[in-house]
Subunit: 431 residues, 2 copies
């Protein structure tokens, strides 16, 4: 079975099925289709599929719309809501559904379980199922294998194959990073790794891969993201410490990093999004002593409150009534250059401020139907720069000339010295 | 005054005084002397001075002994116990005394205060005092300036000059890193920075410097070290999490880091030493919410107990009596290749085990009068590899052939698969 499937991949005589055409699945499907692979992609969201069929990308990613236009029209990519058709007709099935956390900070595998139920309804003999969604160590060899074996009566390794190969790309750059980011491949059978490697080499013969156990792949993905999440939280703690000393954290961190080889320390700012916010819980949900993860989460998730509290104090100084002032917010998405709102700390700021103020205008160049920039600036007493979109660089002059009285810069990205009429406060800046 | 001193430095017509000839001060003094600068160095430890005078380095540092031999004999370096002579005859006085923490985790400035008292007894008109020891933000402009101004009646900026320029080199490589590591220079007077910069350019005209406020230099030094300390603790937490999943943390971290550009995650292991262990408290001692610092300290300082507890369980499995077994320990110094025992986690392991066992043999190739390697291995039922000295690499065969029954590898540096007769457990390894 392994050799047969490997030959099919090597000779381009296979079909790739992708279950879930979200921000992981769709760039994955479109990129492989762009390389001439036959790709079937399933998603339960009908309007989403219609959008893709019309040649449009439902979200931003560097080459995504180009790849979609090309591959939908040449039929290399067939997007559909018919999950069973995709499973039936694919040799390799890649699971890319969302694995969020629930309100008790426990992994929520409901989408994964639905998809496994769909897979188990079809004959999966001789097929390879690749788990690309984030999961706790042991999920592939536990939940996934057990569900499929129990429901189909087939046996992994004998009748079908399983591998973990978790996604680690930066959102919004998937269509570039799929070529650049090494894959950690964890097939339950050693030979399965040859198939997954051959698959990725279709994109680039130089694509780097490392072979590990499935649980190691699952945990390594979590380490990758938690390492970043903790370091962002550490930078935020540094900013709060610098603030207590009355020092500018951006200047201090820049000095520490200047040509220094043991670094760099990240810069402070809002942290959120669909991956980093939750990934720690996928490794710590079964443990009572998850110290760094919980602490990093506390710092990063509470930062919007911390900044709003700083804003409130400054508004009091300026005799601005928090309940009656007009408040403008620049940026709503979870990070710079993205159009993704999931776990967005900027949205959280809107919610926190919105609880005691209903005169909020939001402008985000990446989100349709938000207010225009000029209207947001001129129609507000207080402006919060919440997402560090590149469009907000060099905005000092415009803000200084607007009717706004107080600017709250969550990223310390504007130059405080350029404000005279407008009072400037910035996270990590001397406040 | 500034221009005068700057000219003296540029024309090599100045004397450099170094107060404290420890692991920071001595390599600093010897390296400048090696470049033809007249250096006077003071230390209160008489035998230490005698050792230096005899051309010996009192501790290991790459080129230190060569530099001492050369500069003591050509009289560019004059080591003495006469602090007042050094202060009197120097144009630039560099403070390199130790700034440890006390038992309440508060900065202990007693050595700094003694040295300031000595400085204030002399006429320091037109002299520059550079603070190179670690200190809390505000120490230079507070404690140091106030003490000197009050006791001398002179005024900083008018009569004498002050600058912070904290050390950031890796211990044991100071005589290399003094050329490579950028200096963060924080003179109270802007012009003072020119003098400090000119001083360092004596070592290498390409030496990198950045000019900051004194408090920024003090805090940036602390950020540099705390960033490392927290990341080492995070690696240790990752190892404990991997252990709960029954996975090898070294393999998982290697997989996560393999050709991945957003990293690397450090490897787990014992963390200690005179700098990292304490530096966090220099920025957090005045704060109630020092989260990451306290947590990193908790993890790193408690790791020796964690490892000894794992050892105890394994000894129980092997029917080895913890009170009566012979225990050997490889490595006593705080880090690989070092002969420094301050805040050494290996010493802590000796203490923890020593509390219930008085049959401990210690071998450390960097510490004279410890047991020989062979004797330590053959004379022990249990061997703990505590410091990851390069000499301990590839020791598998020797251990396997010795009389030892259990090996505890605090660094996961040996290959578990090479042990058959000997039971192997390693921190971060599958235990």
């Amino acid at each position: 079975m392994i050799q047969e499937l490997l030959d099919k991949v090597k000779n381009n005589k296979f079909t790739l099925g992708v279950l879930g055409l979200g921000r992981v699945g769709l760039p994955f499907a479109a990129t492989f289709a762009h390389h001439g692979i036959k790709v079937l992609g399933a998603d339960i969201n009908k309007s989403h599929i219609e959008k893709i069929l019309s040649g449009k990308a439902p979200f931003k990613d560097v080459h995504l719309e180009d790849f979609i236009k090309e591959t939908v029209s040449n039929k290399n990519l067939i997007p559909t809501t018919d999950t069973s058709m995709v499973i039936k007709n694919s040799d390799i099935i890649v699971i890319t559904v969302g694995t969020p956390i629930n309100n008790s900070l426990q992994p929520d595998y409901s989408q994964l379980i639905s998809v496994l139920d769909e897979i188990a309804k079809q004959d999966i003999k001789n097929k390879l199922v690749v788990m690309r969604s984030t999961s706790s160590p042991g999920t592939l060899e536990g939940l996934v294998r057990n569900t499929l074996e129990k429901k189909t009566g087939l046996v992994e390794g004998k009748d079908f194959l399983l591998a973990a190969c978790p996604e680690r790309i930066v959102e919004g750059k998937a269509t570039i990073e799929l070529y650049e980011v090494p894959e950690m491949i964890g097939g339950i059978q050693e030979g399965t790794n040859n198939i997954v490697e051959a698959l990725f080499k279709k994109l680039d013969s130089k694509k780097e891969v490392i072979r590990v156990k499935p649980e190691e792949a699952e945990l390594a993905k979590l380490f990758t993201n938690v390492y970043r999440y903790v370091n962002f939280a550490l930078a935020n703690e540094f900013a709060m410490i610098a603030n207590e000393y009355g020092l500018d954290a951006h200047r201090v961190i820049d000095a520490a990093n200047f040509k220094y080889k043991r670094g760099p320390i990240p810069k402070p700012g809002l942290v959120g999004g669909p991956c980093l916010t939750k990934d720690g819980y996928f490794m710590s949900h079964g443990m009572t002593h998850s110290d760094f993860i919980l602490l990093a989460w506390k710092i990063n998730e509470h930062l919007p409150y911390y900044i709003v509290n700083q804003m409130k104090k400054e508004m009091a100084n300026l005799n601005l009534d928090i309940n009656k002032s007009k408040i403008g917010i620049l940026g709503l998405t979870f990070k710079s250059g993205s159009d993704n709102l999931i776990h967005s700390p900027s949205k959280k700021i809107v919610d926190i401020v919105g609880a005691f103020n209903d005169k909020i205008k939001v402008h985000d160049p990446y989100i349709p139907d938000t207010y225009a920039l000029g209207e947001t600036l001129d129609g507000s007493d207080v402006v919060i720069l919440a997402t560090n979109h590149p469009e907000f660089k060099d905005l000092e002059d415009k803000i200084e000339k607007s009717r706004c009285k107080l600017l709250v810069d969550c990223w310390g990205m504007l130059d405080p010295s350029k404000f005279e009429k407008v009072k400037y406060i910035g996270f990590g800046r001397v406040v």
